[in-house]
């Protein structure tokens, strides 16, 4: 029994109005998950990069994410982004001078939080503001973030953005169902935890028309495992031991 529940009962017990309600309620759970919520041991994403050949293929997906989550559009190096695209050389940095086939050289690759199995950002957070959920998502509690930016230094993928200013004036169209962030906290992709828990796929997956798939990596029958079993895929900087959860089919 958590503290607030105990506190609630104490207050309720003192007030006549709650006696009947309290008795009829019995031991019912006070908090529940949505029954239709999607569950996984290890959420993972597979991006079929063969299907992204022009900026027009990328934009609707970035927009879907940024609109759903009220991600501000701030020009310049203090920008905030949850999902964006870059070239092969930048996305898979490590080879200083690769010789690539033309189709790969022209292709763009989505970059986003990898929701690592061993996330260095979670390891370094001094306030427990960034943490792993039971489904393997790396989440941030914006209420608790102190804005020290240690996680940004620790993330080898550059997935995190800091709110150098109040983001609200830079959000073009406010989605009234999702909060914005405030100045002084770090934010990033959440793998749409709030959608998964209501039984929906992440916004980018939904907008990708099948080019991005999402599922449980630990379930051999899941769609991500099927995709990975039939196609050659790579991950970003696997040598760092973070075990990233985003796979790229080349």
């Amino acid at each position: 029994m958590n503290t607030s529940r105990r506190y609630f009962l104490k207050v309720a017990g003192l007030s006549t109005f709650a006696i009947a309600a309290g008795a009829s309620k019995g031991n019912a759970a006070e908090y529940e998950a949505y029954p239709e919520g999607l569950k996984a041991h290890r959420w993972a994403m597979v991006i079929d990069t063969r299907r992204f050949n022009s900026p027009e293929d990328m934009k609707p997906i970035v927009d879907a994410c940024h609109k759903a989550h009220n991600v501000p559009t701030i020009p310049g190096p203090k920008e905030i982004k949850w999902i964006w695209d870059d070239t092969f050389e930048h996305a898979f940095a490590g080879d200083p001078s690769p010789i690539l086939p033309e189709r790969i050289e022209k292709r763009r690759f989505f970059l986003l939080c990898n929701h690592c199995t061993n996330p260095s950002c979670v390891r370094v957070c001094p306030a427990g503001a960034t943490y792993k959920t039971p489904g393997g998502l790396v989440a941030i509690d914006y209420h608790r973030c102190v804005g020290c930016r240690f996680c940004m230094a620790a993330c080898p993928y550059g997935s995190r953005s800091f709110n150098f200013m109040d983001p609200r004036p830079h959000v073009k169209e406010l989605n009234p169902e999702y909060p914005t962030r405030m100045r002084g906290v770090v934010e990033k992709c959440t793998f749409c935890a709030e959608r998964l828990e209501k039984g929906q796929m992440p916004a980018c997956v939904e907008a990708s028309k099948g080019a991005i798939v999402f599922g449980d990596l630990n379930d051999p029958k899941s769609i991500v495992r099927k995709m990975l079993a039939n196609n050659f895929s790579i991950r970003r900087k696997p040598d760092l031991g973070t075990d990233p959860g985003v796979y790229y089919i080349i």
């Binding site: 190096p77 920008e79 905030i80 370094v124 001094p126 306030a127 804005g147 993928y157 800091f162």
Partner: protein, 394 residues
């Protein structure tokens, strides 16, 4: 004891007033930073730490340096240091206070700073850094104050203080080790991901800290006539020379690993710091080479006894050393750590005017704390009959 702060010469008051005016100005700038967020700084998404954290790192070293006097005095009974140990401890207090302030001004949500204690996370090095810094502040305050009080009453210091002194020796090593661990455990930041980081930090701290202390002591002699005594100056400058030698040696070790292995991740940050990248970052290149030149100048004059013991040359060698280590362990370390970005691109970080303003204010707070504490220490010494001027033989 505290009343000693109030009585002083017009020059002393003018100095305090000067510091207070800088603090006042910086405070106003900081209020704007609080209201508008860290957009007032030159920091970016890819270079997310800069001027503030650089000063923090350097000053942890300055704080740890008191151990270079306490250790010989405690474990080797080297008595000359007892004359000035309290000044080293009080300098450490000033340095730790500056460290804490630099962390706070760097935070996006400083009003939530207590979250670090309310939600303790032992897996985070930052949590341990806060813990050891607070502990070190407390240790130095208790030890410095109590020893000073006992000295003024001409009684032996109590046993429990001696226990605390031994703890503080190990604690000093730990604070800088933990600060190095902030950097040395991050995957993907190659310039920092080095096993020798903590050793480098300690070597750099044990030359820069005593150098700063010695400079302040020489200034104190000029202003008040309090002679730190010849053996103190001699022994400290030897310590500084050895530590600087080690510090430079350790950097050469980094260069060897980076360039003999030829691994791009290790070599790129160093290339960038000293050579820039396709015309980018001209100022950092000049900055780093300045550090190299000054480092060699300082080690040359410190290593040769004839120059080291010449009080006309020594202060300049120390100034060169302090600047060289400040560049290397300050902005050099931070900019090198964030270059290249995770996408192998390069960008320029330059601290903004406002960032430097707030930083100056924090330095002024430190100077104010040290001035006041040293003033107390000096008056107490005078009262208890410690001779200020010493004859040649002593």
């Amino acid at each position: 004891m505290v009343e000693k702060v109030l009585k002083g010469s017009p020059k002393y008051y003018l100095w305090l007033l000067f510091l207070l005016s800088i603090i006042g100005y910086a405070f106003i700038v900081y209020v704007f930073q609080l209201m508008y967020g860290l957009q007032t700084t030159g920091l970016t998404r890819n270079t997310s730490w800069g001027f503030y954290i650089a000063q923090f790192t350097y000053l942890v070293g300055v704080a740890a340096a008191a151990v270079m006097l306490v250790l010989p005095a405690t474990f080797h009974h080297y008595h000359p240091y007892h004359r000035v140990i309290v000044f080293a401890e009080f300098l450490a207090i000033g340095a730790v206070i500056m460290c804490m302030l630099f962390i706070v001004v760097d935070m996006g949500q400083p009003q939530r700073v207590m979250n670090v204690i309310l939600h303790p996370t032992p897996n985070s090095v930052m949590f341990w850094d806060c813990t050891v810094l607070c502990g070190y502040l407390l240790l130095n305050a208790v030890i410095g104050w109590t020893s000073l009080e006992h000295e003024s009453r001409h009684v032996e210091v109590p046993r429990w203080i001696k226990v605390l002194v031994v703890i503080s020796i190990f604690w000093a090593f730990s604070i800088h080790t933990v600060t190095a661990f902030l950097y040395a455990g991050l995957p993907g930041r190659h310039y920092w991901l080095s096993a020798i980081m903590a050793a480098r930090f300690l070597a750099s701290a044990f030359c820069a800290g005593p150098a700063l202390l010695l400079l302040c002591l020489l200034l104190l002699k000029k202003l008040t006539g309090f002679d730190p005594s010849k053996p103190v100056i001699r022994s400290l400058s030897i310590t500084i020379a050895y530590a600087m030698g080690l510090n430079m040696f350790f950097y050469v070790l980094e260069l060897f690993t980076a360039f003999y292995s030829g691994i791009p991740g290790h070599a790129h940050p160093i290339h960038f710091l000293f050579g820039g990248h396709e015309g980018l970052n001209v100022w950092v290149t000049g900055w780093m080479w300045t550090a190299v030149v000054l480092a060699f100048v300082s080690i040359f004059f410190l290593a040769i006894p004839k120059y080291r013991y010449n009080l006309k040359i020594l202060p300049w060698a120390l100034v060169a050393l302090v600047i060289a280590t400040w560049i290397d362990k300050g902005l050099g370390l931070l900019i090198g750590g964030f270059a290249p970005t995770p996408y192998e691109t390069y960008e320029v970080y330059t601290p903004s005017f406002w960032e430097v303003s707030v930083g100056l204010g924090v330095f002024a707070v430190g100077a104010l704390v040290v001035s006041i504490l040293w003033k107390i220490a000096l008056e107490m010494k005078k009262e208890s009959g410690v001779p200020f001027e010493l004859s040649e033989g002593e």
